[in-house]
Protein backbone atom coordinates (compact mmCIF):
# COMPACT_ATOMS: atom_id res chain seq x y z
CA UNK A 1 0.00 0.00 0.00
CA UNK A 2 3.03 2.23 0.23
CA UNK A 3 3.72 1.79 -3.42
CA UNK A 4 2.14 5.09 -4.39
CA UNK A 5 4.54 8.00 -4.74
CA UNK A 6 2.57 10.16 -2.34
CA UNK A 7 3.01 7.50 0.36
CA UNK A 8 6.77 7.57 0.05
CA UNK A 9 6.79 11.37 0.15
CA UNK A 10 4.78 11.26 3.36
CA UNK A 11 7.13 8.68 4.77
CA UNK A 12 10.23 10.69 4.03
CA UNK A 13 8.57 13.76 5.43
CA UNK A 14 7.72 11.85 8.56
CA UNK A 15 11.28 10.61 8.83
CA UNK A 16 12.56 14.15 8.40
CA UNK A 17 10.26 15.33 11.13
CA UNK A 18 11.37 12.53 13.42
CA UNK A 19 14.98 13.43 12.73
CA UNK A 20 14.31 17.07 13.52
CA UNK A 21 12.58 16.21 16.80
CA UNK A 22 15.53 14.02 17.65
CA UNK A 23 17.96 16.85 17.05
CA UNK A 24 15.88 19.27 19.11
CA UNK A 25 15.64 16.84 22.02
CA UNK A 26 19.36 16.16 21.81
CA UNK A 27 20.26 19.86 21.97
CA UNK A 28 17.86 20.50 24.83
CA UNK A 29 19.28 17.53 26.71
CA UNK A 30 22.80 18.82 26.22
CA UNK A 31 21.94 22.20 27.69
CA UNK A 32 20.02 20.54 30.53
CA UNK A 33 23.10 18.54 31.44
CA UNK A 34 25.11 21.76 31.47
CA UNK A 35 22.41 23.44 33.57
CA UNK A 36 22.10 20.62 36.06
CA UNK A 37 25.65 19.32 36.40
CA UNK A 38 26.80 21.88 39.00
CA UNK A 39 23.68 21.22 41.05
CA UNK A 40 24.16 17.47 40.92
CA UNK A 41 27.81 17.90 41.82
CA UNK A 42 27.12 20.06 44.87
CA UNK A 43 24.39 17.68 46.06
CA UNK A 44 26.78 14.75 45.70
CA UNK A 45 29.46 16.67 47.53
CA UNK A 46 27.09 17.40 50.40
CA UNK A 47 26.74 13.66 51.01
CA UNK A 48 30.46 12.91 50.84
CA UNK A 49 32.94 12.37 53.63
CA UNK A 50 35.83 14.79 53.79
CA UNK A 51 38.30 12.35 52.27
CA UNK A 52 35.99 11.59 49.34
CA UNK A 53 35.66 15.28 48.60
CA UNK A 54 39.35 15.96 48.23
CA UNK A 55 40.01 12.74 46.34
CA UNK A 56 41.54 13.18 42.91
CA UNK A 57 40.44 11.86 40.48
CA UNK A 58 36.98 12.78 41.81
CA UNK A 59 34.86 9.95 43.10
CA UNK A 60 31.43 9.37 41.65
CA UNK A 61 30.69 6.27 43.67
CA UNK A 62 30.93 6.67 47.42
CA UNK A 63 29.17 5.78 50.64
CA UNK A 64 26.84 8.66 51.37
CA UNK A 65 26.87 10.23 54.79
CA UNK A 66 24.59 12.71 56.51
CA UNK A 67 27.37 14.12 58.70
CA UNK A 68 27.56 17.37 56.76
CA UNK A 69 23.84 18.02 57.10
CA UNK A 70 23.87 17.17 60.78
CA UNK A 71 26.76 19.55 61.30
CA UNK A 72 25.17 22.36 59.33
CA UNK A 73 21.67 22.07 60.77
CA UNK A 74 22.90 21.83 64.34
CA UNK A 75 25.27 24.76 64.28
CA UNK A 76 24.47 28.41 64.81
CA UNK A 77 27.02 29.16 62.11
CA UNK A 78 24.42 28.15 59.56
CA UNK A 79 21.09 28.33 61.37
CA UNK A 80 21.53 31.92 62.56
CA UNK A 81 22.02 33.30 59.03
CA UNK A 82 19.19 31.09 57.78
CA UNK A 83 16.80 32.50 60.37
CA UNK A 84 18.07 36.03 59.70
CA UNK A 85 17.40 35.56 56.01
CA UNK A 86 13.85 34.48 56.76
CA UNK A 87 13.23 37.42 59.09
CA UNK A 88 14.67 39.99 56.74
CA UNK A 89 13.08 38.61 53.59
CA UNK A 90 9.61 38.17 55.03
CA UNK A 91 9.83 41.49 56.85
CA UNK A 92 10.83 43.40 53.77
CA UNK A 93 8.05 41.76 51.78
CA UNK A 94 5.48 42.89 54.34
CA UNK A 95 6.75 46.45 54.20
CA UNK A 96 6.82 46.28 50.41
CA UNK A 97 3.21 45.16 50.18
CA UNK A 98 2.03 47.94 52.48
CA UNK A 99 3.89 50.56 50.47
CA UNK A 100 3.67 49.00 47.04
CA UNK A 101 0.09 47.85 46.69
CA UNK A 102 -1.51 51.32 47.05
CA UNK A 103 1.21 52.77 44.84
CA UNK A 104 0.67 50.24 42.09
CA UNK A 105 -3.08 50.82 42.31
CA UNK A 106 -2.72 54.58 42.05
CA UNK A 107 -0.27 54.33 39.16
CA UNK A 108 -2.59 52.00 37.29
CA UNK A 109 -5.99 53.55 37.96
CA UNK A 110 -5.46 57.31 38.17
CA UNK A 111 -3.85 59.77 35.88
CA UNK A 112 -2.23 62.53 37.84
CA UNK A 113 0.61 64.97 37.51
CA UNK A 114 3.99 63.37 37.92
CA UNK A 115 2.66 59.85 37.60
CA UNK A 116 5.21 58.65 35.07
CA UNK A 117 8.02 60.35 36.94
CA UNK A 118 7.11 58.61 40.15
CA UNK A 119 6.79 55.29 38.35
CA UNK A 120 10.15 55.75 36.71
CA UNK A 121 11.73 56.91 39.95
CA UNK A 122 10.66 53.68 41.62
CA UNK A 123 11.98 51.56 38.79
CA UNK A 124 15.29 53.43 38.82
CA UNK A 125 15.94 52.06 42.30
CA UNK A 126 16.39 48.71 40.64
CA UNK A 127 18.65 50.07 37.95
CA UNK A 128 21.12 52.08 40.04
CA UNK A 129 24.35 50.40 41.16
CA UNK A 130 23.57 49.22 44.70
CA UNK A 131 26.78 50.44 46.29
CA UNK A 132 26.12 54.02 45.19
CA UNK A 133 23.29 54.09 47.72
CA UNK A 134 24.54 51.51 50.19
CA UNK A 135 27.94 52.99 51.00
CA UNK A 136 26.50 56.33 52.18
CA UNK A 137 23.68 54.39 53.82
CA UNK A 138 26.30 52.44 55.76
CA UNK A 139 27.51 55.59 57.54
CA UNK A 140 23.98 56.84 57.98
CA UNK A 141 22.90 53.55 59.51
CA UNK A 142 25.84 53.60 61.89
CA UNK A 143 24.82 57.02 63.12
CA UNK A 144 21.15 56.06 63.38
CA UNK A 145 21.85 52.76 65.12
CA UNK A 146 20.37 50.79 62.22
CA UNK A 147 23.63 49.14 61.20
CA UNK A 148 23.62 45.41 61.91
CA UNK A 149 19.92 45.42 62.81
CA UNK A 150 17.03 43.53 61.24
CA UNK A 151 15.02 46.70 60.86
CA UNK A 152 17.84 48.41 58.99
CA UNK A 153 18.14 45.53 56.57
CA UNK A 154 14.39 45.35 56.07
CA UNK A 155 14.32 49.02 55.16
CA UNK A 156 17.34 48.73 52.87
CA UNK A 157 15.88 45.68 51.13
CA UNK A 158 13.11 47.91 49.80
CA UNK A 159 15.63 48.83 47.13
CA UNK A 160 15.30 45.29 45.82
CA UNK A 161 11.70 44.36 46.52
CA UNK A 162 9.71 47.55 46.00
CA UNK A 163 10.51 48.29 42.33
CA UNK A 164 9.68 44.77 41.21
CA UNK A 165 6.42 44.57 43.10
CA UNK A 166 5.16 47.98 41.99
CA UNK A 167 5.99 47.46 38.34
CA UNK A 168 4.59 43.98 38.09
CA UNK A 169 1.43 44.80 40.02
CA UNK A 170 0.84 47.95 38.02
CA UNK A 171 0.68 46.03 34.79
CA UNK A 172 -1.51 43.36 36.33
CA UNK A 173 -4.02 45.98 37.46
CA UNK A 174 -3.89 47.81 34.14
CA UNK A 175 -4.79 44.57 32.41
CA UNK A 176 -8.09 44.41 34.27
CA UNK A 177 -10.93 46.53 32.92
CA UNK A 178 -11.76 49.53 35.12
CA UNK A 179 -15.47 48.93 34.50
CA UNK A 180 -15.33 46.14 37.05
CA UNK A 181 -14.87 48.61 39.84
CA UNK A 182 -17.21 51.14 38.31
CA UNK A 183 -19.95 48.53 38.41
CA UNK A 184 -19.49 48.23 42.15
CA UNK A 185 -19.63 51.99 42.46
CA UNK A 186 -22.86 51.99 40.49
CA UNK A 187 -24.36 49.65 43.07
CA UNK A 188 -23.48 52.15 45.73
CA UNK A 189 -20.15 50.76 46.80
CA UNK A 190 -17.17 52.88 47.55
CA UNK A 191 -13.81 52.70 45.83
CA UNK A 192 -12.55 50.90 48.91
CA UNK A 193 -15.19 48.15 48.75
CA UNK A 194 -14.57 47.79 45.04
CA UNK A 195 -10.89 47.42 45.69
CA UNK A 196 -11.31 44.96 48.51
CA UNK A 197 -14.03 42.76 47.09
CA UNK A 198 -13.34 42.85 43.39
CA UNK A 199 -9.91 44.01 42.43
CA UNK A 200 -7.93 42.40 45.21
CA UNK A 201 -9.39 39.01 44.39
CA UNK A 202 -8.70 39.37 40.71
CA UNK A 203 -5.12 40.44 41.14
CA UNK A 204 -4.38 37.73 43.70
CA UNK A 205 -2.39 35.61 41.23
CA UNK A 206 -0.46 38.66 40.11
CA UNK A 207 0.21 39.68 43.67
CA UNK A 208 1.37 36.16 44.42
CA UNK A 209 3.73 36.17 41.47
CA UNK A 210 5.17 39.56 42.33
CA UNK A 211 5.67 38.52 45.93
CA UNK A 212 7.40 35.33 44.93
CA UNK A 213 9.74 37.07 42.59
CA UNK A 214 10.50 39.68 45.22
CA UNK A 215 11.08 36.90 47.72
CA UNK A 216 13.62 35.19 45.50
CA UNK A 217 15.37 38.47 44.79
CA UNK A 218 15.54 39.47 48.43
CA UNK A 219 16.67 36.00 49.48
CA UNK A 220 19.42 36.10 46.85
CA UNK A 221 20.59 39.60 47.68
CA UNK A 222 24.27 39.86 48.50
CA UNK A 223 25.56 43.42 48.20
CA UNK A 224 23.16 44.88 50.75
CA UNK A 225 23.94 42.48 53.61
CA UNK A 226 27.62 42.47 52.69
CA UNK A 227 27.81 46.13 53.65
CA UNK A 228 24.91 46.63 56.05
CA UNK A 229 24.80 43.41 58.05
CA UNK A 230 27.24 42.78 60.88
CA UNK A 231 27.84 39.78 63.07
CA UNK A 232 24.28 39.64 64.41
CA UNK A 233 22.39 39.90 61.17
CA UNK A 234 24.42 37.91 58.70
CA UNK A 235 22.11 36.39 56.10
CA UNK A 236 22.50 33.22 54.10
CA UNK A 237 24.37 34.67 51.13
CA UNK A 238 27.03 36.27 53.29
CA UNK A 239 26.91 33.60 55.98
CA UNK A 240 27.80 30.79 53.65
CA UNK A 241 31.14 32.46 52.99
CA UNK A 242 32.13 31.59 56.55
CA UNK A 243 32.94 28.10 55.34
CA UNK A 244 35.65 29.60 53.20
CA UNK A 245 38.58 31.03 55.09
CA UNK A 246 41.95 32.17 53.83
CA UNK A 247 43.52 28.91 54.97
CA UNK A 248 40.98 26.29 54.02
CA UNK A 249 37.52 25.54 52.76
CA UNK A 250 35.10 23.30 54.65
CA UNK A 251 33.83 21.71 51.48
CA UNK A 252 31.35 19.25 52.96
CA UNK A 253 29.47 21.59 55.30
CA UNK A 254 29.63 24.31 52.66
CA UNK A 255 27.97 22.00 50.16
CA UNK A 256 25.29 20.96 52.64
CA UNK A 257 24.63 24.58 53.60
CA UNK A 258 24.36 25.45 49.92
CA UNK A 259 21.82 22.73 49.29
CA UNK A 260 19.68 23.75 52.27
CA UNK A 261 19.75 27.42 51.25
CA UNK A 262 18.63 26.55 47.73
CA UNK A 263 15.44 24.89 48.92
CA UNK A 264 13.22 27.95 49.49
CA UNK A 265 13.97 29.44 46.08
CA UNK A 266 13.38 26.17 44.29
CA UNK A 267 10.13 25.54 46.14
CA UNK A 268 8.89 28.96 45.15
CA UNK A 269 9.95 28.41 41.60
CA UNK A 270 8.26 25.12 41.08
CA UNK A 271 4.97 26.54 42.24
CA UNK A 272 5.13 29.87 40.49
CA UNK A 273 7.06 29.60 37.25
CA UNK A 274 4.05 30.31 35.09
CA UNK A 275 3.00 33.31 37.13
CA UNK A 276 6.47 34.74 37.14
CA UNK A 277 6.70 34.58 33.38
CA UNK A 278 3.29 36.17 33.03
CA UNK A 279 4.27 38.91 35.42
CA UNK A 280 7.58 39.70 33.83
CA UNK A 281 6.15 39.91 30.38
CA UNK A 282 2.83 41.57 31.13
CA UNK A 283 2.54 44.75 29.18
CA UNK A 284 5.42 43.93 26.88
CA UNK A 285 4.06 41.11 24.81
CA UNK A 286 0.37 41.76 24.86
CA UNK A 287 -1.67 40.89 21.83
Amino acid sequence: MNASPSGSVARSRRRKKLLRHGAVIASLSMWSVFALAPLVWIVMMSFKKAEDIVAYPPTFVFTPTLTNYVEVLSSAKFMAPFVNSLIVTVGSLLVTVVIGLPTAYALARFSFRGRENIAFGILSLRFAPELLIILPLYLLFQKAGLYDSHLGLILAYQLVTLPMLVWMLRSFIEDLPGELEEAVAMDGGTRWTAFRHVLLRLIAPGLGASLMLSFVWAWNSYTLPLVLAGKNTQVITTGIQQYISAQSIDWGPMAAATVVSLIPGILFAVFSLRWIVGGLTAGTVKG
Binding site: L28, P38, L39, I118, F127, L135, I244, V285
Partner: protein, 285 residues
Protein backbone atom coordinates in the same frame (compact mmCIF):
# COMPACT_ATOMS: atom_id res chain seq x y z
CA UNK B 1 -16.84 57.41 41.16
CA UNK B 2 -16.36 60.96 42.27
CA UNK B 3 -12.93 62.20 41.42
CA UNK B 4 -10.88 62.96 44.49
CA UNK B 5 -7.81 64.75 43.26
CA UNK B 6 -5.79 64.11 46.39
CA UNK B 7 -6.42 60.38 46.57
CA UNK B 8 -3.72 59.18 44.16
CA UNK B 9 -1.14 61.33 45.91
CA UNK B 10 -2.18 59.93 49.24
CA UNK B 11 -1.77 56.41 47.90
CA UNK B 12 1.70 56.96 46.50
CA UNK B 13 2.84 58.93 49.53
CA UNK B 14 4.68 56.04 51.24
CA UNK B 15 6.50 55.16 48.03
CA UNK B 16 7.38 58.82 47.57
CA UNK B 17 8.77 58.83 51.08
CA UNK B 18 10.99 55.88 50.17
CA UNK B 19 12.18 57.72 47.06
CA UNK B 20 13.00 60.82 49.06
CA UNK B 21 14.74 58.71 51.69
CA UNK B 22 16.87 57.10 49.01
CA UNK B 23 17.63 60.43 47.43
CA UNK B 24 19.52 61.50 50.52
CA UNK B 25 22.23 58.80 50.50
CA UNK B 26 22.32 59.01 46.72
CA UNK B 27 23.07 62.74 46.71
CA UNK B 28 25.51 62.27 49.57
CA UNK B 29 27.32 59.72 47.45
CA UNK B 30 27.40 62.02 44.44
CA UNK B 31 28.79 64.81 46.65
CA UNK B 32 31.48 62.50 48.02
CA UNK B 33 32.56 61.66 44.50
CA UNK B 34 33.78 65.26 44.21
CA UNK B 35 35.69 65.17 47.49
CA UNK B 36 38.75 63.63 49.02
CA UNK B 37 37.08 61.48 51.59
CA UNK B 38 38.91 58.80 53.44
CA UNK B 39 36.85 57.42 56.25
CA UNK B 40 39.78 57.37 58.65
CA UNK B 41 40.86 60.93 57.89
CA UNK B 42 38.03 63.26 58.78
CA UNK B 43 35.37 65.05 56.80
CA UNK B 44 35.07 65.19 53.01
CA UNK B 45 36.84 68.12 51.33
CA UNK B 46 36.02 69.24 47.81
CA UNK B 47 38.72 68.38 45.33
CA UNK B 48 37.24 69.54 42.05
CA UNK B 49 36.72 66.28 40.22
CA UNK B 50 40.16 64.83 40.91
CA UNK B 51 38.54 61.45 41.52
CA UNK B 52 37.02 61.44 38.05
CA UNK B 53 40.26 62.61 36.51
CA UNK B 54 42.00 59.75 38.28
CA UNK B 55 39.44 57.30 37.03
CA UNK B 56 39.88 58.29 33.41
CA UNK B 57 43.62 58.83 33.47
CA UNK B 58 45.00 56.03 35.57
CA UNK B 59 45.32 52.57 34.12
CA UNK B 60 43.28 51.18 36.99
CA UNK B 61 40.18 53.25 36.25
CA UNK B 62 40.27 52.81 32.49
CA UNK B 63 40.89 49.13 32.97
CA UNK B 64 37.80 48.82 35.18
CA UNK B 65 35.66 50.69 32.66
CA UNK B 66 36.95 48.39 29.91
CA UNK B 67 36.19 45.27 31.94
CA UNK B 68 32.71 46.57 32.75
CA UNK B 69 31.84 47.16 29.11
CA UNK B 70 33.47 44.00 27.79
CA UNK B 71 31.70 41.89 30.39
CA UNK B 72 28.29 43.38 29.62
CA UNK B 73 28.61 43.16 25.84
CA UNK B 74 29.88 39.58 25.76
CA UNK B 75 27.55 38.22 28.38
CA UNK B 76 24.40 39.85 27.02
CA UNK B 77 25.07 38.88 23.40
CA UNK B 78 25.85 35.27 24.24
CA UNK B 79 22.83 35.02 26.52
CA UNK B 80 20.53 36.51 23.89
CA UNK B 81 21.69 34.12 21.16
CA UNK B 82 21.60 31.05 23.39
CA UNK B 83 18.39 32.10 25.13
CA UNK B 84 16.43 32.75 21.96
CA UNK B 85 17.78 29.55 20.43
CA UNK B 86 16.75 27.49 23.44
CA UNK B 87 13.35 29.18 23.58
CA UNK B 88 12.70 28.24 19.95
CA UNK B 89 13.76 24.67 20.65
CA UNK B 90 11.47 24.55 23.68
CA UNK B 91 8.54 25.78 21.62
CA UNK B 92 9.18 23.24 18.89
CA UNK B 93 7.84 20.07 20.44
CA UNK B 94 5.41 18.93 23.13
CA UNK B 95 8.30 18.10 25.46
CA UNK B 96 9.12 21.77 26.03
CA UNK B 97 7.57 22.14 29.48
CA UNK B 98 9.60 19.27 30.93
CA UNK B 99 12.85 20.67 29.65
CA UNK B 100 11.92 24.17 30.68
CA UNK B 101 11.90 23.33 34.35
CA UNK B 102 15.36 21.77 34.08
CA UNK B 103 16.72 24.65 32.06
CA UNK B 104 15.31 27.35 34.31
CA UNK B 105 16.61 25.97 37.61
CA UNK B 106 19.91 27.90 37.72
CA UNK B 107 18.01 31.18 37.66
CA UNK B 108 16.49 30.47 41.05
CA UNK B 109 19.72 29.99 42.93
CA UNK B 110 21.27 32.94 44.66
CA UNK B 111 23.95 34.06 42.16
CA UNK B 112 26.46 34.11 44.99
CA UNK B 113 25.85 30.49 45.80
CA UNK B 114 25.76 29.44 42.17
CA UNK B 115 29.11 31.17 41.75
CA UNK B 116 30.49 29.31 44.75
CA UNK B 117 29.36 26.03 43.22
CA UNK B 118 31.27 26.85 40.08
CA UNK B 119 34.29 27.89 42.07
CA UNK B 120 34.31 24.44 43.63
CA UNK B 121 34.20 22.77 40.24
CA UNK B 122 36.79 25.04 38.66
CA UNK B 123 39.60 24.64 41.19
CA UNK B 124 42.85 23.20 39.95
CA UNK B 125 41.94 19.74 41.19
CA UNK B 126 38.27 20.19 40.46
CA UNK B 127 35.93 18.06 38.47
CA UNK B 128 36.07 20.23 35.33
CA UNK B 129 39.82 19.87 35.00
CA UNK B 130 39.46 16.16 35.63
CA UNK B 131 36.95 15.97 32.77
CA UNK B 132 39.33 17.86 30.51
CA UNK B 133 42.17 15.53 31.37
CA UNK B 134 39.94 12.53 30.83
CA UNK B 135 39.48 13.61 27.21
CA UNK B 136 43.17 14.30 26.81
CA UNK B 137 43.19 18.08 27.30
CA UNK B 138 45.41 19.86 29.79
CA UNK B 139 43.61 21.38 32.78
CA UNK B 140 43.14 25.13 32.93
CA UNK B 141 43.65 27.68 35.67
CA UNK B 142 40.12 29.02 35.16
CA UNK B 143 39.38 31.58 37.89
CA UNK B 144 43.03 31.78 38.92
CA UNK B 145 44.48 32.56 35.51
CA UNK B 146 45.26 36.12 34.47
CA UNK B 147 43.87 35.46 31.00
CA UNK B 148 41.13 33.01 31.83
CA UNK B 149 39.57 34.54 34.95
CA UNK B 150 37.30 36.98 33.14
CA UNK B 151 36.07 34.35 30.70
CA UNK B 152 35.44 31.93 33.53
CA UNK B 153 33.33 34.48 35.35
CA UNK B 154 31.40 35.17 32.16
CA UNK B 155 30.67 31.46 31.77
CA UNK B 156 29.14 31.46 35.25
CA UNK B 157 27.02 34.50 34.38
CA UNK B 158 25.86 32.83 31.18
CA UNK B 159 25.02 29.67 33.09
CA UNK B 160 22.90 31.58 35.61
CA UNK B 161 21.15 34.10 33.41
CA UNK B 162 20.55 32.46 30.05
CA UNK B 163 17.34 30.99 31.53
CA UNK B 164 16.09 34.52 32.13
CA UNK B 165 16.34 35.19 28.40
CA UNK B 166 14.73 31.82 27.69
CA UNK B 167 11.69 32.66 29.82
CA UNK B 168 11.11 36.05 28.24
CA UNK B 169 11.89 34.92 24.71
CA UNK B 170 9.47 32.02 25.06
CA UNK B 171 6.70 34.39 26.03
CA UNK B 172 7.67 36.66 23.15
CA UNK B 173 7.64 33.82 20.67
CA UNK B 174 4.15 32.88 21.73
CA UNK B 175 2.96 36.26 20.50
CA UNK B 176 4.26 35.60 16.96
CA UNK B 177 1.16 34.61 15.01
CA UNK B 178 1.52 31.09 13.68
CA UNK B 179 -0.31 32.04 10.46
CA UNK B 180 2.36 34.55 9.56
CA UNK B 181 5.06 31.93 9.72
CA UNK B 182 2.99 29.43 7.79
CA UNK B 183 2.16 31.99 5.15
CA UNK B 184 5.79 32.83 4.59
CA UNK B 185 6.65 29.14 4.48
CA UNK B 186 4.04 28.69 1.78
CA UNK B 187 5.62 31.56 -0.10
CA UNK B 188 8.82 29.54 -0.08
CA UNK B 189 10.80 31.17 2.72
CA UNK B 190 13.27 28.83 4.36
CA UNK B 191 13.64 28.58 8.12
CA UNK B 192 16.57 31.04 8.18
CA UNK B 193 14.77 33.64 6.10
CA UNK B 194 11.69 33.01 8.17
CA UNK B 195 13.57 33.68 11.39
CA UNK B 196 15.19 36.91 10.27
CA UNK B 197 12.21 38.45 8.49
CA UNK B 198 9.36 37.35 10.73
CA UNK B 199 10.32 35.92 14.09
CA UNK B 200 13.15 38.27 15.00
CA UNK B 201 11.33 41.53 14.17
CA UNK B 202 8.36 40.34 16.21
CA UNK B 203 10.71 39.66 19.11
CA UNK B 204 12.11 43.20 19.19
CA UNK B 205 9.86 44.51 22.01
CA UNK B 206 10.80 41.57 24.25
CA UNK B 207 14.41 41.85 23.18
CA UNK B 208 14.46 45.46 24.37
CA UNK B 209 13.23 44.39 27.79
CA UNK B 210 15.78 41.57 27.90
CA UNK B 211 18.66 43.85 26.97
CA UNK B 212 17.54 46.46 29.48
CA UNK B 213 17.43 44.02 32.38
CA UNK B 214 20.43 41.91 31.49
CA UNK B 215 22.46 44.85 30.21
CA UNK B 216 22.08 46.91 33.34
CA UNK B 217 22.53 43.92 35.63
CA UNK B 218 25.73 42.89 33.91
CA UNK B 219 27.11 46.43 33.79
CA UNK B 220 26.78 46.52 37.56
CA UNK B 221 27.67 42.88 38.16
CA UNK B 222 29.14 42.41 41.60
CA UNK B 223 27.94 39.19 43.25
CA UNK B 224 29.47 36.63 40.93
CA UNK B 225 32.77 38.42 40.46
CA UNK B 226 33.33 39.26 44.08
CA UNK B 227 32.54 35.79 45.41
CA UNK B 228 34.67 33.97 42.87
CA UNK B 229 37.71 36.17 42.30
CA UNK B 230 37.41 39.29 44.49
CA UNK B 231 38.42 41.17 41.34
CA UNK B 232 41.64 39.24 40.85
CA UNK B 233 44.01 37.77 39.92
CA UNK B 234 45.70 41.18 40.11
CA UNK B 235 42.84 43.18 38.58
CA UNK B 236 41.80 40.84 35.79
CA UNK B 237 38.13 40.84 36.82
CA UNK B 238 37.87 44.23 38.56
CA UNK B 239 34.92 46.01 36.99
CA UNK B 240 33.63 49.38 38.20
CA UNK B 241 31.36 47.95 40.86
CA UNK B 242 34.06 45.73 42.34
CA UNK B 243 36.61 48.54 42.10
CA UNK B 244 34.26 50.78 44.05
CA UNK B 245 33.87 48.18 46.77
CA UNK B 246 37.60 47.65 47.06
CA UNK B 247 38.21 51.41 47.11
CA UNK B 248 35.42 52.12 49.55
CA UNK B 249 35.45 49.23 52.00
CA UNK B 250 38.99 47.96 51.81
CA UNK B 251 40.86 51.24 51.30
CA UNK B 252 38.29 53.44 53.04
CA UNK B 253 38.62 55.82 50.11
CA UNK B 254 34.98 56.83 49.71
CA UNK B 255 35.70 59.63 47.28
CA UNK B 256 37.29 57.37 44.69
CA UNK B 257 34.67 54.69 45.24
CA UNK B 258 31.83 57.11 44.62
CA UNK B 259 33.37 58.46 41.45
CA UNK B 260 33.53 54.93 40.05
CA UNK B 261 29.92 54.36 41.07
CA UNK B 262 28.67 57.59 39.53
CA UNK B 263 30.35 56.68 36.24
CA UNK B 264 28.70 53.26 36.45
CA UNK B 265 25.36 54.88 37.20
CA UNK B 266 25.73 57.10 34.12
CA UNK B 267 26.47 54.03 31.99
CA UNK B 268 23.34 52.28 33.30
CA UNK B 269 21.25 55.37 32.65
CA UNK B 270 22.59 55.76 29.12
CA UNK B 271 21.64 52.20 28.34
CA UNK B 272 18.15 52.49 29.81
CA UNK B 273 17.39 55.78 28.06
CA UNK B 274 18.54 54.40 24.71
CA UNK B 275 16.33 51.37 25.24
CA UNK B 276 13.36 53.43 26.40
CA UNK B 277 13.62 55.50 23.23
CA UNK B 278 13.86 52.35 21.13
CA UNK B 279 10.77 51.02 22.82
CA UNK B 280 8.85 54.21 22.20
CA UNK B 281 9.76 54.17 18.51
CA UNK B 282 8.78 50.54 18.39
CA UNK B 283 5.43 51.26 20.01
CA UNK B 284 4.82 54.23 17.71
CA UNK B 285 5.70 52.36 14.56
Amino acid sequence: MKPKPHLPYLLVLPALAVLVAVLYPFLTGVWWSFTSYRLNRGAPTFNGGANYLNLFVTGEGLHAIGITLLYAVVVVSVECVLGIGLAMLLNYGPYGSTFRLLIVLPLLLPPVIAALMWKVMLTENGVVNWLLEAVGQPGLLWLNGLDSALWSVMIIDIWIFTPFVVLLAQAGLRSVPQELREASAVDGAGPVRNFFSITLPMLVPVLIVIIAFRGIDSLKMFDIIYTTTKGGPVDATTNLHVLAYLDGIRNMNFGAAMAALVVLWVLCNLLSSVLLRARRTEAGA
